[in-house]
């Protein structure tokens, strides 16, 4: 049983060693000369434009909120999916109604134009 996890363990150990090692060694061996250019945030090689922390539109919130709602929906699907055969037609209809009710909200928000980016 333990043998089947050995590749994952090896991968985790190699990944940890490499990431910690590269940070530690570059700190130990590397030469540090801080210039203003070096300490500025990296933005595709261009000089940064504005602050990274400016506020953004409320439209993002609607998307994030829809993500939560459908995240819950999918999470309810896990116990349903593992028992799909046993639950039969009743379970299928039940999940269908469940998804249909959620789709009503989705269609409403879509119809109201909350998902458009003018």
């Amino acid at each position: 049983m333990l043998d089947s996890y050995l590749p994952i363990l090896t991968l985790i150990i190699i990944a940890l060693c490499f990431s910690i090692g590269s940070v530690v060694f570059s700190r130990l061996i590397g030469e540090k000369r801080m210039t203003e250019l070096k300490m500025s945030p990296y933005e595709c090689g261009m000089p940064p434009v504005g602050s990274a922390r400016e506020r953004f539109s409320v439209k993002f919130y609607i998307i994030a909120m829809l993500f939560i709602v459908f995240d819950i929906e999918v999470v309810f699907m896990y116990p349903w999916a593992v028992m799909f055969k046993r639950l039969g037609l009743f379970g299928f209809m039940e999940m269908g109604v469940f998804i249909l009710i959620l789709l009503v909200g989705y269609a409403y928000v879509w119809k109201k134009g909350a998902l458009e980016w003018e």
Partner: protein, 169 residues
């Protein structure tokens, strides 16, 4: 073994929570709360509830906390001054807590993959939970979908940008 894991997890969870409610910066509070939720998920696993543990990570740490972080960023509530480089005084506790949490997870997986010794006498497989959820609690699941419908419409109505903000006052 199980009792050792319980004490470590309990310590991680309570420390992370305490740090969470005392931080000034709300972004740091969210990060500490996520660490606390991971510890709680492992505790659920120890109690023989693997599906609930997965839900805890997916729903709380993965979705709800991201929404919180999102709102903090959106309203610009994080402090504006930028820290110079990594600040160990600030991030040290977080690194310590999350690495010990990682060690607990690895211990839990590799020590006993079948989890026969660690978790107690009660173990609820996802299949049984699914059978109960979609059999005995079938109506409750449909009510949950109504609740989510109301949540999405209500959040949209409250959060939408009003078209004529100047006229109302």
């Amino acid at each position: 073994m199980a009792s050792l894991l319980f004490y470590i997890l309990g310590f991680i969870m309570l420390t992370a929570t305490l740090l969470c409610i005392t931080r000034r910066n709300p972004v740091h509070a969210v990060i500490y709360l996520v660490v606390g939720f991971f510890a709680l998920a492992l505790m659920f696993y120890l109690l023989g509830a693997p599906l609930v543990a997965a839900w805890e990570v997916i729903v709380y740490a993965g979705a709800i906390m991201v929404l919180f972080l999102f709102i903090i960023m959106m309203l610009g509530l994080a402090p504006q001054e930028l820290p110079e480089g990594p600040n160990w005084h600030r991030w040290g506790p977080l690194v310590l807590l999350s690495s010990s949490l990682m060690a607990c997870t690895l211990l839990l997986i590799f020590q006993d993959p079948a989890a026969t010794e660690i978790i107690g006498t009660y173990y609820l497989a996802p299949q049984e939970l699914g059978e109960a959820l979609f059999g005995r609690y079938a109506l409750a699941v449909e009510v949950v979908s109504f609740q989510l419908l109301f949540a999405s419409i209500g959040a949209y109505m409250l959060g939408r940008s009003l078209p004529k903000e100047d006229d109302e006052s």
